[in-house]
């Protein structure tokens, strides 16, 4: 059982696929192809009352395009994605510039806060902002006190509110991805601008940002894509204010319409798939150019650190203010909500009511504890299986064995599915073809594996690329054959990448809301979905308490992930 080790460019199309590759391709096909098929089928067929597929029809698509609200949904989606991308980019870039290119005080705070914020579940984060800016929240209360009146000044349930929260959500990632861009730039480019007469702002505008433009564009596009496929903000912030985008429309068709309009939801799903496919194509081209202007010369260069002089402490104050706003305020709001028996706006009168009642309830309740256990099991099994598959598949792709292109392509396909659409597709699969699986924790694991295989593969692939092929060739010459070489030589060296991979997939799987929302049943409640349900039922206190406990657990995993990724120089995004 040998796998031909082919070097760069030495791919022979006549070589036979090895058994490992055939098995992997078969597994991927089973996991990745059916969602496309079922989604497309449901969008083009009527659904009988019994749930079986009926006649072929374009009616679903026709209904969508002719609907009154279609234009506003498309416009909302575009504005929402664009606005969030711009906001995340501006905040992230400002933080990255301050941290890497100035001597502003307290720069380390930015890194710490970004790490912490990655551990906060999205639902919790969004709820915190809704409470903060809500009708009964402290912001409106303060504004009402200052300017009078009883109507709230800020309506968080609006497109503006959606853009704000989603932008805030992605700004830590933007910061972490832009820091290397500002770090890896030779000082002489900006010194040259200075000599040519450019002041601080001209240098920033024409040189620093000019050279960072490819990376900024790639990042902006990435956030645009993430926002386009996001669900939590449109559902929690948009729907109450009747602002609909593509993802929340799908959810609405399935849960709020009676009976559920599966055909229409599927048609929207297909539409969204096409949009995502186009965006991802554009992104892969833009991302290839992203680091065009970065230099890492061997001459002991340093990037130019701007001495801010008197402005150091003002900048330091700004640095502290950003994470304060992005992280501390939401956490404090949640903590406040967690400690009160029922939610009230912040006031001194409520202080005597503070207590740990909600926490006691959460930790004692078997169903909440069950959620936590389910989430951990879901995360761990998904991560383990994805990592195992990715290790082998990643090696095959990195070493360019016969069939690796097909493997790579198949593994990348799930990226095209927004989570809610993938959830919908699997819902249809389970209803029509695997009804015993429906509602079980196993079904959630299966869906997660399909959804996160692309990420796992990327980590494993990068890890294998860092291992020079000569190490394996040396083993081959010494007489070892596969899989012995893989187990004895590759795997030990791959461990840091696999640990990163495991932790990253784990964090993705436990945070997923929309993926699980349509599939989780009473036996398979996970924390993310439980939090979502709490909000819809108005159980703010329980939500906050469970959220706090969960955040604490997740932060441990996040820190572990970041430590490993930094140490072995693996990507974080």
């Amino acid at each position: 059982m040998t796998i031909a080790v082919a070097r760069d460019g030495g791919r022979s199309s006549t070589a036979r696929y090895s058994p490992q590759v055939i098995v992997l391709i078969a597994l991927l096909c089973v996991g990745v192809i059916p969602p496309f098929v079922f989604l497309a089928y449901s969008s083009l067929h009527e659904l009988d009352p019994s749930g079986a597929f009926g006649v072929f029809t374009f009616g679903h698509f026709a209904a969508i395009f002719s609907s009154r609200t279609f234009n506003s949904v498309i416009v909302n989606s575009a504005v929402y994605s664009l606005g969030s991308a711009l906001l995340a980019l501006v905040i992230g870039a400002a933080q990255a510039w301050l941290a890497e290119r100035t001597d502003a005080a307290l720069r380390q705070v930015l890194y710490v806060s970004s790490i912490v914020s990655l551990g906060i579940p999205y639902v919790l984060y969004i709820v915190a902002w809704i409470l903060f800016f809500g009708k009964a929240g402290p912001v409106n209360a303060t504004l009402q006190q200052m300017f009078g009146g009883t109507e709230p000044y800020i309506n968080v349930y609006s497109l503006g509110g959606m853009i704000f929260v989603e932008g805030m959500l992605w700004s830590p990632l933007a910061f972490l991805l832009l820091s290397p861009v500002f770090r890896n730039s030779d000082a002489s480019f900006e010194e040259a601008a200075s000599i040519c007469g450019a002041g601080l702002f001209s240098t920033l505008r024409y040189v620093t940002l000019g050279m960072a433009r490819p990376a900024l564009l790639a990042l902006g596009l990435l956030v645009f894509i993430k926002a386009s496929e996001s669900f939590e903000v449109p559902a929690l912030v948009g729907l109450p204010g009747s602002t609909r985008v593509l993802t929340s429309t799908i959810y609405q068709r399935l849960t709020l319409d009676m009976p559920p309009d599966v055909g229409s939801a599927s048609a929207f799903g297909v539409l969204l798939l096409v949009v995502m496919a186009v965006l991802l194509q554009i992104y892969s081209r833009v991302a290839a150019q992203a680091h065009r202007y970065q230099t890492v010369t061997g001459k002991g260069f340093r990037p130019r650190v701007i001495r801010l002089g008197r402005w150091r402490y003002a900048a330091g104050a700004l640095i502290v203010a950003i994470p304060f706003i992005v992280v501390i305020v939401p956490l404090a709001t949640i903590l406040w909500a967690a400690l009160l028996p029922y939610y009230q706006p912040f006031s001194l009168k409520a202080v005597p009511l503070l207590g740990f009642g909600n926490f006691v309830q959460v930790l004692n309740s078997p169903s909440f504890r069950g959620s936590i256990v389910n989430s951990l099991v879901l995360g761990a099994s998904t991560a383990t299986l994805v990592t195992a598959l990715s290790a082998v598949a990643g090696w095959c792709v990195a070493r360019r064995v016969a069939g690796s292109r097909l493997l790579d392509g198949l593994a990348a396909l799930p990226l095209v599915f927004p989570a809610i659409v993938l959830g919908l597709a699997f819902l249809e699969i389970f209803v029509h073809a695997g009804s015993r699986l429906y509602g079980s924790l196993l079904s959630l694991v299966v869906v997660s594996i399909v959804a996160y295989i692309p990420y796992g593969l990327r980590y494993a692939q990068l890890g294998v690329i860092q291992i020079h092929p000569e190490l394996e060739e040396a083993a081959a010459i010494a007489g070892a054959r596969q899989p012995r070489t893989f187990i004895r030589v590759v795997l030990p060296l791959l461990i840091p990448a696999l640990i990163s991979c495991w932790l990253f997939v784990f964090l993705l799987a436990v945070r997923a809301v929309s993926l699980m929302l349509l599939l989780a049943g009473p036996d398979s409640q996970v924390v993310a979905v439980t939090l979502f349900d709490f909000w819809n039922n108005g159980q703010v206190g329980e939500l906050a308490a469970l959220g706090c406990v969960w955040t604490a657990i997740m932060t441990v995993f996040c820190v572990a992930f970041l430590v490993v990724a930094r140490r072995y120089q693996l990507p974080i995004g």
Binding site: D186, A192, G197
Partner: protein, 366 residues
């Protein structure tokens, strides 16, 4: 044009090199002035201090009688207000802009919109023509070769007609042939434009070929200032003598000195040399003769009183335009560069040091 007085910038104790102490020199208008020295001597620190990219801890600097730095009075004019041109070692050509935009940048940065668009275009194109890059103007600067980038960096430095042009080892990244070409280009351009230039290099042949005056630096201080001829033929001490050009240096003790001559006792024997009547400096303690001045003849009777020594050819290298020999006199090896004759290895020969070509120099200062 440039007046530097008592410039000092020290890095943390223990940090290797680069600091300067009490540096003073003047550059006259239109001059090509070179700071020459080994790595870590502080020449780049000096250049960057003049540019405003580093702030010294003590000293004073003026350009065209305008104070740009005065530590005692707390004056520090930032780099972008000094109206200088600078060519960096890595060129620092901006890859995301076109060749034209690179060249036009300083004009666009002039305060108060001094030039309109048409004028900017005219001036930038004219400067690009001068360096031979006019046809590349619309192209992206990232597409230029190393030599072209260097010319673009030069154009950018000159376009706003600065009072001073600073060059930080601009030729060191080029291959040998290109370096020769660019060297003469640079010289021609500087004379044509008439701009005062301060040039930093560790390559002594470059310094000799390009400069009107050279300041040799070592360990943060200036050791000697002079024209290339003076530096080469009248080195102040052994360090300068061995750093610039090749030399035969014989350390020893001063036996006597009078009337511009000196006699130094060396391992070869007493050597008669020229000794400039330099009353202020340390006494000469070494004899120096350049390889091309040593006269090599067939063996005769070595008469040490008149700088003749008997030796044996140890090594011979035929260079085409000359032949180099290593001649052993006793335990001492002498490098000889000769155009006449061919002496084979182990042949007995006689070397003669003409006293007017032999120089008495001070030993190194610590």
């Amino acid at each position: 044009m440039l007046h530097v007085e008592n410039l000092t910038k020290l890095y943390a104790p223990g940090e290797s090199g680069g600091g300067i102490r009490g540096l003073s020199f003047d550059v006259t208008a239109g001059e090509f002035y070179t700071l020459l020295g080994p790595s870590g001597c502080g020449k780049t620190t000096t250049l960057r201090s003049v540019a405003g990219l580093e702030e010294p801890s003590a000293g004073r600097m003026t350009i065209a009688d305008q104070v740009i730095f005065d530590a005692a009075k707390g004056i520090f004019v930032p780099a972008n207000h000094r109206r200088l041109g600078m060519v960096f070692q890595s060129y620092a050509v901006w890859p995301h802009m076109s060749v034209f935009d690179n060249a036009a940048f300083p004009l666009r940065m002039l305060p108060g919109k001094q030039w309109g668009d048409a004028d900017i275009r005219r001036l930038a194109m004219r400067t690009l023509e001068t360096v031979g890059l006019a046809e590349f103007a619309p192209r992206s600067a990232a597409q230029l070769s190393g030599g072209q980038q260097q010319r673009l960096a030069l154009a950018r430095a000159l376009v706003a007609e600065p009072s001073l042009l600073l060059l930080d080892e601009p030729l060191s990244n080029l291959d040998a042939l290109l370096r020769e070409q660019m060297r003469s280009e640079l010289r021609r351009l500087q004379k044509e434009v008439g701009v005062t230039a301060v040039y930093v290099t560790h390559d002594q042949s470059e310094a000799l070929a390009l400069s009107d005056r050279i300041a040799i630096m070592r360990n943060g201080r200036i050791v000697q200032i002079g024209t290339p001829y003076q530096i080469y033929h009248q080195p102040r001490n052994a360090f300068v003598a061995t750093f610039v050009g090749r030399s035969n240096l014989f350390r020893g003790k001063l036996l006597e000195r009078n009337n511009g001559h000196a006699r130094i006792a060396t391992a070869l024997g007493p050597v008669l040399c020229q000794a400039p009547n330099d009353v202020g400096g340390p006494p000469p303690a070494a004899a120096l003769i350049r390889p091309e001045h040593v006269v090599l003849t067939a063996a005769g009777a070595g008469d040490s009183a008149s700088n003749r020594f008997r030796g044996r050819v140890f090594q011979m290298s035929f260079l085409g335009e000359a032949t180099e020999y290593v001649v052993q006199v006793g335990k001492v090896e002498i490098l000889v560069r000769s155009m006449a004759g061919q002496y084979a290895g182990s042949e007995d020969v006689e070397v003669y040091f003409p006293p007017d070509k032999t120089l008495a120099v001070a030993a190194d200062e610590i």
